[in-house]
C-alpha cells in the first residue's frame, strides 16, 4: 500500500526516534495528558500531513504533531490519515508491465486481473521472475531493456465515517468532545509505485520498489536479492532483504483499493489494550490499542527460504525476520520473528485449480529499554514478549468464479497488549487483571471473471475478539464487520501497459473503535459500545506502464 505499510501499525513504542522526539516535544510533565486524548490522534487531519514541523504547546496537538512527524500509532493501528491524507489503500504492489515488455506476454497471462497473480504468474514469481526459457538473464535481452514500471491511481472518492469525536467548540481543545460524521468527497491521487524487479543473472533475481505517498515522499517498500534454484533445485531458494511475506492471499496484490476495502482487516487488526482517562471529565475513558506493531500484510526485513514444485502446486516457505515490522534502522535492538507458509494445489477438472494452505507467524516485540539521562538508548530494547498469527487460507476456483477464504486465530502477549496505551515511555506495568487478548478473523473474497478484461469482486470480513485484554471491556469491543464490492474493467489488454477502470463500494462497522481505514478522524467514539460505520465509494483510473 502506497505510503501505508511504511508507517502503518508501527506502535509508538516501536520507534525509538519517535519516542525521543515525543519526549522532547511534549516533555515529561505533559506526556501523560498528551496520550489521554485518544482523539488527538486525528490531529493531522484528513487532508494531508502538516510537514512544516510546527510544534504546538497543546498536549493533543503535540501528540498529533508527533504522529505526523514520526509516523507513530494513531491509536488503532492505522496511520493512513497521517500519510499525506492517503485514505486510499492503494498498494505497493507488483503489477509489472516491464515483464510483459521483456517477455511479450499480455498482463492477463500472469494476472487473473492485475495485480493478482494466477498460477502462471505464481510460477513465474516462484522461479525468481523467470520464464525458464533460457532467455531470462539480462544478457539475453537487448541492452535497452530496463526493468522498471510505474503505477498510480487518480480517483474520485467519497469516504464517510460516523461517530467521530471533534472539539465541541471548533478551535477550543478544552471544550470537550462532540461526535459527528465526517465525509470527504472529491478527486484525489494515490501514491506512486516504482517497480523494479528482474534478474541480475540467470539464477539471481532482485526486487526494488521505491514507493511514495500521494505527496511524493518516498520510502523503500521492498528491496531484496533472491538466489534461485540453489543446488539446481527449485525446492531451494533464498531471498534476503525487505519483501512481502509469502501470504497465500496476498494483500499487495489484492484487487480492491478503497479506503475501507483496500486492505485485509484481518492482516492488521489489533484489539483494544487499556483504557485511558479522557481529559474531558464528562466523558468516559477511551480505549487505546494493543501495542503490537505487526501487520501480516506489511513487508518484513529478513530472509526467506522457499521451495516449490515445477508448476508451484506445492509451495513452502520459512522466514526469519527482524522484529521491526519492516522498519529500518534496528533502533530497538535484537529480536527475530519466524514465519512459515505451506500450500498445496490440485486440479479439479473444469472447475480449475484449487489451492489450500496454512500459515503461521510468531513474533516478538520488546517491552523495556535502557535510558541515559532519562532518554531511551538506541538498541537497548529488551524484555521481548511474543505474539502469533496462524490460520488457513485457500484460492479456489469454480470455473470463472474465484473464492479466497481465510481464517486466522491470533493473540498478543498481555504485556504487548497493554504497552500501546499511549504511554510507552517509561513502560507501564501490566494492569491488574489484564489478559492476553485472543481474536478470530475470517474473510471470504470472491472474484467473478466475466472475461480476462472484466472482473466483479466482493469480500466480507469479520473479526471477533474472543478474549478482551481487560475484563471490564465489553465482549464485542473491537469487533469488525467489513464488506466490499467492486469491479475492474481493462478496456484493453496489451503486453506493454495496463489501464483499469475501477469502481468500488466498501463499508466497515467497528464497535467502540475507529475503523482500521483511518478514515474520518481515526479516533474511537466516546462510548465503548458505539458502532462506528465507515464507508467508501471509489472510482478510479488505475494504470501501470
Amino acid at each position: 500500500m502506497t505510503g501505508w505499510s511504511r508507517r502503518k501499525f508501527a506502535p509508538v513504542q516501536m520507534s525509538f526516534g519517535a519516542l525521543c522526539a515525543l519526549s522532547l516535544l511534549v516533555g515529561a510533565s505533559t506526556r501523560a495528558t498528551a496520550m489521554t486524548g485518544v482523539g488527538g490522534a486525528n490531529g493531522s487531519g484528513i487532508h494531508g500531513s502538516d510537514r512544516d514541523g510546527r510544534a504546538d504547546t497543546q498536549p493533543r496537538a503535540l501528540y498529533a504533531e508527533f504522529l505526523r512527524r514520526y509516523g507513530g500509532s494513531s491509536g488503532f493501528g492505522n496511520e493512513k490519515h497521517f500519510d499525506g491524507g492517503t485514505t486510499l489503500a492503494v498498494h505497493s504492489s507488483s503489477v509489472i508491465p516491464a515483464f510483459a515488455r521483456k517477455y511479450g506476454l499480455p498482463c492477463s497471462a500472469c494476472h487473473t486481473s492485475w495485480p493478482q497473480l494466477n498460477n502462471f504468474g505464481q510460477v513465474f514469481r516462484d522461479n525468481g521472475y523467470r520464464l525458464m526459457n533460457e532467455r531470462d538473464s539480462p544478457i539475453d535481452h537487448a541492452p535497452g531493456y530496463w526493468p522498471i514500471a510505474a503505477r498510480i491511481t487518480p480517483h474520485f472518492r467519497v469516504d464517510r465515517t460516523t461517530n467521530q469525536p471533534v472539539d465541541a467548540v471548533p478551535g477550543d481543545p478544552t471544550s470537550g468532545f462532540a461526535e459527528r460524521a465526517i465525509t470527504q468527497t472529491g478527486f484525489d491521487l494515490s501514491g506512486l509505485d516504482l517497480l523494479m524487479i528482474g534478474t541480475l543473472s540467470n539464477n539471481i533475481s532482485f526486487g526494488l520498489i521505491p514507493s511514495s505517498d500521494n505527496q511524493g515522499s518516498f520510502h523503500l517498500e521492498a528491496a531484496y536479492v533472491r538466489f534461485n534454484d540453489l543446488l539446481s533445485s527449485n525446492w531451494a531458494n533464498l531471498k534476503v532483504g525487505k519483501f512481502e511475506l509469502d501470504n497465500i492471499v496476498s494483500e499487495k496484490r489484492e484487487l480492491l483499493l478503497s479506503g475501507n476495502g483496500g486492505f485485509y482487516q484481518s492482516y492488521h487488526f489489533v484489539p483494544a489494550g487499556v483504557l485511558v482517562a479522557s481529559p474531558d471529565p464528562t466523558l468516559p475513558a477511551s480505549p487505546v490499542p494493543d501495542g503490537t506493531s505487526f501487520g501480516l500484510g506489511d513487508n518484513q526485513l529478513g530472509a526467506e527460504f522457499s521451495g516449490h514444485s515445477v508448476n508451484s502446486y506445492t509451495r513452502f516457505s520459512v522466514g526469519l525476520f527482524s522484529s521491526t515490522d519492516g522498519e529500518v534502522g534496528l533502533q530497538q535492538g535484537s529480536g527475530f520473528d519466524a514465519a512459515v507458509a505451506l500450500s498445496q494445489a490440485f486440479e479439479a477438472g473444469s472447475l480449475g485449480l484449487e489451492r489450500i494452505g496454512v500459515f503461521g507467524y510468531r513474533g516478538n516485540r520488546p517491552t523495556t529499554f535502557a535510558t541515559l539521562n532519562g532518554q531511551p538508548v538506541p538498541g537497548t530494547w529488551d524484555g521481548n514478549k511474543s505474539f502469533y498469527r496462524a490460520g488457513v487460507a485457500g484460492d479456489l476456483y469454480l470455473g470463472n468464479l474465484e473464492l479466497l477464504p481465510l481464517y486466522m486465530r491470533a493473540s498478543d502477549d498481555v504485556a504487548l497488549a497493554t504497552a500501546g496505551g499511549g504511554q510507552p515511555f517509561p513502560p507501564q506495568p501490566v494492569p491488574v487483571g489484564a489478559r492476553s487478548p485472543v481474536w478470530n478473523a475470517a474473510f471470504l473474497e470472491a472474484h467473478y471473471f466475466v472475461s480476462h478484461q472484466f472482473v466483479a469482486m466482493g469480500r466480507h470480513e469479520v473479526i471477533r475478539v474472543a478474549t478482551q485484554t481487560l475484563p471490564e471491556f465489553p465482549s464485542d469491543l473491537g469487533n469488525v464487520d467489513a464488506t466490499a464490492v467492486g469491479f475492474r474493467w481493462n478496456p484493453f489488454m496489451l503486453s506493454r501497459t495496463g489501464l483499469a477502470l475501477h469502481g468500488e463500494y466498501a463499508w466497515t462497522s467497528t464497535t467502540g473503535l475507529p475503523p482500521l481505514s483511518g478514515l474520518g478522524s481515526g479516533a474511537p467514539p466516546n462510548d465503548l459500545t458505539t458502532r462506528v460505520k465507515s464507508s467508501s465509494i471509489f472510482l478510479a483510473l488505475d494504470f501501470a506502464f
Binding site: G104, F120, A181, G352, G399, A446, V485
Partner: protein
Amino acid sequence: MHLQTRPLRVTIVASALLLTIGGARTALAQMAQGAGDPHAGESAYNRNCIGCHGPQGDGRGENAQWIEPKPRDFTEALFKCRSTPTGTLPTDNDVEQAITRGFVTTNMPSWRPLTEETRRNLVAYIKTFSPKWTTRPAGTPIVIPAETPVNVESIIRGRQLFQKMECWKCHGPAGHGDGPAASALTDSKDQPIRPYNFSTGTRFKCGSTNADLYRIFMTGLDGTPMPSFVDQLKPNDAWDLVHFLRTLQPAQSPEAILWAPYHRAHAAELPPIGADAATPPPT
C-alpha cells in the same frame, strides 16, 4: 454528503449473489462438457496466447513484430513438434505437449502452470483456426524402437552420420547453428530461421529426452528446413546420431561424460567435421 447507503448495499449484495450463482452455473456447465472444450479454450487463448498468435491464430498478434522466431501460424496447421510423420497433422497430445513444454530459447514459455483441462481446451480451440482439422485425420504416431546402448562406438558412428548426412551444413561443425547454409534458411513463410544451436541450451525445442530427439529425425520439423530422415536413417543409425548430438550440449549427459575423455585422448585421430573433412573416420 450524507449517503443513503442501505438501498445501495442491498442492491450491490444482490448483484454479487447473482454473479456468484451465475459463476457456479457456468462452472457446472463446463464440468458437463468434458475435456477439450473449444469455447473454454477461446477464453484461455484470449487470456494467454492472443498477444503473439493473434486473434485469428495467424501468428500476427500485436507482439509478433518484436518476436524472433515468429509465433506459429495456426491457420496453416503446420506444427514442428509431432509424433506423426511429416506432412500429417499432429495428434492432440502433440499439441498439448508443445503447449506444456514451451519452446526453449523462444518467447513461447512452458504453460505447465495451466491446468491440464485448460491446456486441452486450448488445443481444441487452436484446431478451429484451420479447416484441415475437420477434413483430415491426425497422423499415426511413429514407433520409437528401444534405444541402443550408449557407448563411444555409438557416438563415433553418430559423428560420422553428422558428417555424412550433412547436418553440419546447417547446424555447423560444432553444432553452433552456424553452418554455411544457416544464413540462407527460411521457414514455410519465407521468414529467416536459424538452425538449432546445440551449445546454448540443455533442452531441445521438441523435448529434452533422447526419444524426443530421435522423433525429430524421423518426423522432421514441418514448416522448417529440417526434413524427416525416416527414409535415410535406420533406427540404430538414428540412435547413434542422438548419442553424438548429446555430446554437443553443455549438459553433463551420459553421452558427454563418456565422450569427453575419449575426445581428449583421440582428438588428433578424429577427422574434422565439415567441408574440410577429407578422410574417412576411424572405425
